[in-house]
């Protein structure tokens, strides 16, 4: 496949627009060749994951671009950093690491990226429309943009995200093209109790199951109630993009490219059909906990960053209650969402003794003080990564169970939630 470049692409590749543009276009062209693309496409926005500090290589790359005069050509948002810039007292890590993380953040701001510091850019006021070509990194944002918004992004990772933002160009390949967006593996969800399908707890569990089985294939999921809200789809997609490499999922009756199973499959037969039994769902749920409980140290909510509706729910659950003094309860959200919600919700959450975390996540930044006991979460993504990242045991439960446990000081289950499964 020959790659056709526009005159402007070629000029930038030759360095006529400066060193940063030359380097960025070099990466885009190398990627295009690897993906056997025949041309590049314009994108209308970018979301950068590379702003999270993992070591010197990320900083070296960002400084090459920023010091080389790089300026983003499309509106570009920033993912979480490894600092809570609004609540610096929460940071319990070492100062040298914080300094490097700050330099990395500064480099991206210098290039014109918006300091949004959220893993949920789809919760910001400006978000891509159906069919829009974008270049997003951060696995949960990718699967949300593709699946829930119907925008089109390939699975971009660190380094290439900023290159797409600087050039406004991506390979015409992968999930950018309609023919690559049809479902490949069909999940048929068997009968589950109505109370469970109405609960937030089911969707991260299903995502965890789907990701493991789908791997990097595009799943189609049928048998769920129609019009699942964005928060449930967010939790499901984030889980599937952790246990698997899912960048697009079709949830029949809920996501825009899946009005029917046939439409989601593009009229083709699936290569594999998985009949999901209640027993498989229970096994996936149990796989998300590394311990039944015992001593509980902390409860972490908000991975991905909580939406306004999830903050309101948390405020309602905490109203008039006190977090047990032995437990640290953290609620993570984006700074823009936090600034837009009712101050009464924030008062209810903080008044109960919980801490609101912005700009980062509790599994990447040293925030939790006491890690001697287990940590409880309502997020399959948090449950997937935290045992490796933090070395903690994790207990998965619904948001309601998490809040009840934080108040009680020990793991507290809602016995009715999984009854009859």
């Amino acid at each position: 496949m020959t790659l056709e470049l526009s005159p402007d692409d070629r000029a930038r590749l030759a360095g006529e627009a400066g060193e940063a543009d030359r380097l960025a276009m070099t990466v885009i062209v190398r990627l295009a060749r690897a993906m056997a693309a025949d041309r590049l496409l314009d994108v209308t926005s970018a979301h950068i994951d590379s702003c999270l500090y993992h070591g010197r290589s990320g900083l070296d790359f960002a400084l090459r671009l920023a010091d080389g005069g790089g300026r983003v050509r499309v509106p570009t948002t920033l993912n979480v950093t490894s600092l809570d810039l609004l609540h610096p007292d929460l940071y319990a890590g070492d100062a040298a690491h914080a300094e490097q993380a700050r330099r990395l953040a500064d480099a991206y701001e210098r290039m014109g990226c918006a300091p949004t510091w959220t893993c949920a850019p789809y919760q910001l006021p400006a978000r891509p429309a159906f069919g829009e070509q974008i270049a997003w990194a951060e696995s949960n944002a990718i699967v949300f943009a593709n699946s829930v918004l119907g925008a089109r992004t390939h699975r971009y990772g660190d380094f290439v995200d900023i290159c797409a933002a600087l050039t406004g160009r991506v390979p015409a390949a992968g999930l950018h093209l309609a023919e690559n967006r049809h479902g490949e593996i069909l999940f048929r969800i068997g009968a589950l109790p109505d109370d469970l399908t109405a609960s937030d707890v089911l969707y991260p569990v299903l995502g965890h199951l789907v990701g493991y089985r789908a791997g990097i294939r595009i799943p189609v999921i049928e048998g769920l109630p129609p019009d699942l809200g964005e928060d449930l789809l967010k939790a499901m997609g984030a889980a599937a993009a952790s246990s698997g490499g899912v960048g697009l999922m079709h949830v029949v009756g809920s996501t825009p490219e899946a009005p029917t199973t046939e439409a989601a499959l593009g009229g083709r037969r699936p290569r594999e059909v998985v009949a999901v039994s209640p027993e498989m769902v229970v096994a996936a749920r149990d796989d998300l906990s590394t311990t039944a409980g015992g001593g509980l140290s902390a409860v972490c909510l908000g991975t991905p960053h909580y939406s306004a509706a999830e903050l309101e729910r948390t405020a309602t659950l905490l109203a008039g209650r006190r977090v047990n003094p032995a437990i640290e309860l953290y609620v993570s959200t984006g700074r823009d969402v936090l600034a837009a919600v009712s101050p009464e919700w924030i008062e209810a959450i903080e008044g109960a003794g919980a801490r609101i975390v912005t700009d980062t996540c509790t599994y990447i930044t040293p925030i939790i003080r006491n890690r001697r006991g287990a940590v409880m979460t309502d997020s399959a993504k948090w449950a997937f990564y935290a045992p490796s990242n933090l070395g903690v045991d994790v207990v998965f439960g619904s948001a309601q169970e998490c809040v009840a446990s934080a108040v009680a000081g020990s793991v507290t289950r809602d016995s009715g939630l999984w009854a009859g499964v």
Binding site: L23, T26, V27, R30, L31, A34, M35, D49, S50, L52, H54, G55, R56, S57, G58, D60, F61, R64, A137, E138, S139, I142, V143, H154, R155, Y156, G157, D158, F159, V160, D161, G174, G211, G215, I216, A240, A241, S242, S243, G244, G245, V246, G247, T290, F384, Y385, P387, S388, N389
Partner: protein, 129 residues
């Protein structure tokens, strides 16, 4: 072929996909994913043979960082194309001039690779010892 180059090493055949982020300690090259069946193995100097990566976008950074620190794989053989893996290796090449080639092979070649046997990647050729 995702990233051309030369690499020689013993095969480390992963029984499950691996996310470098949350799955590998970039400073030691040790697999730390507590769910992974090969937790504790070192990827440094090995030809990493895996079906594909997992979701995380940050895997590119962790791979680049492991390569910078000299504990990255000598090469990566995939069964399915994974651009996040390729981009981590490309960034390390651009920044530090160290190439960790990344190749995609067909199911037959992939299935024929035996744990611990020598593998050579040269350009787009994969030779299984």
């Amino acid at each position: 072929m995702l990233l051309e180059g030369r690499g020689v090493g013993r095969a480390l055949v992963l029984a499950a996909p691996l996310s470098f982020w949350g799955g590998v300690d970039a400073e030691s090259g040790v697999i730390i994913d507590h769910r992974h069946p090969q937790r504790g193995e070192e990827i440094g100097g090995r030809i990493l043979v895996m079906p594909a990566g997992r979701g995380s976008s940050s895997s590119a950074s962790v791979l680049a960082e492991a390569i910078r620190l000299g504990v990255g794989p000598a090469g990566i053989v995939l069964q399915h194309s994974d651009e996040i893996v390729m981009l981590g290796a490309l960034a390390a090449e651009i920044l530090y001039g160290v190439t960790c080639p990344v190749v995609v092979v067909d199911a037959e070649t992939f299935g024929g690779i035996v744990e611990g046997r020598a593998i050579a990647i040269d350009g787009s050729e994969v030779t299984v010892g």
